[in-house]
Symmetry: C2
Subunit: 211 residues, 2 copies
Amino acid sequence: MKRKGILVVVSGFSGAGKGTLMKKMIQDYDNYALSVSMTTRSPREGEENGREYFFVSKEEFEEKIRQDGLVEYASYCDHYYGTPKEYVETQLAAGKDVILEIEIQGALKIKEKFQTALLLFVMPPTAAELKRRLVGRGTETEEVIAKRLRRAGEEAQGMEHYDYIVINDDLDECTKELHSMICAAHHTPRRSGELMENMKRELDQLVKGEK
Amino acid sequence: MKRKGILVVVSGFSGAGKGTLMKKMIQDYDNYALSVSMTTRSPREGEENGREYFFVSKEEFEEKIRQDGLVEYASYCDHYYGTPKEYVETQLAAGKDVILEIEIQGALKIKEKFQTALLLFVMPPTAAELKRRLVGRGTETEEVIAKRLRRAGEEAQGMEHYDYIVINDDLDECTKELHSMICAAHHTPRRSGELMENMKRELDQLVKGEK
């Protein structure tokens, strides 16, 4: 029986280390595919089309919406952000677990559409460590740091909607832990419907054969 | 923060290899404690008091029930079977994950009492393999094998109430998989209440400090 892929949604505070973690997942294991979002905002310095985002015009994005070509989408600060459907579906069908980084509202929308999606919330070991990481980047103003902390406080309210809370203390450890969670998720009854049905049918046939 | 133990309930068809699997879990990892059931039935050849079961009289068992000293109990074929509460609670408080082998009715009772219990259902890769194992023991009559297959068919109806379905194909692989599932389970929101509350409180304090 071919294993079907799981849509793995990763959320977490800015500064939790999601990006690095996801890159390492792709690097260390061969069962993952990374979904790249589509946006109408302009690329920042160093960002590449197709790597950080697919950068498209507002017209192209709205055409995607009309074609029902997005798993979910939202708009922030006058820009659209969304998840192209085709890549996700192709990879899932090929048995890949598709990892998708997305904030909490999008994550909950996906959970509604994909009952078998796995929602992971990544956070640093303590709030003090989160602040240290945000400050440590050295690239952000006091104001941006304060804003991110407030945003983290808001996002923390939604943690209980996730399947797992992942503490990113040590990158290697955390990568292994994430991988274990995703492997385990393949064995929940919700994701093992076919397996359970086969077993029930086979047992039924054997029992009849014994009579 | 000290990690609290999880009560791990293992069920599965007779012939699924639960016993061997649990022994290997205890052997390979140091975070597990095995709960031993109490029964009023007589020990069979080779069974040892305190290893397979605690063998007690009907009066002793009923006294335990009156003292509320059992996590759950049931009676089959005129004999009582139950799980002594004290051992389970002591080990959980010490941070051990307590493994308990029990059939489906008992498992569901435990799930009602212990919201954070983890229910695992072990099965062989196919029904044909299950039959092969039952026959292969060479110790059972045709009639007993037929009865166990019928019983497996009945138990299969309850699989979807479990948290995970575990395929016991290769013992080493399956042991690792079980261990991963239990490790992952420690990170569900249901079992991370304290961690989430701490993070929310700390973030709240930091945000206030920034103002």
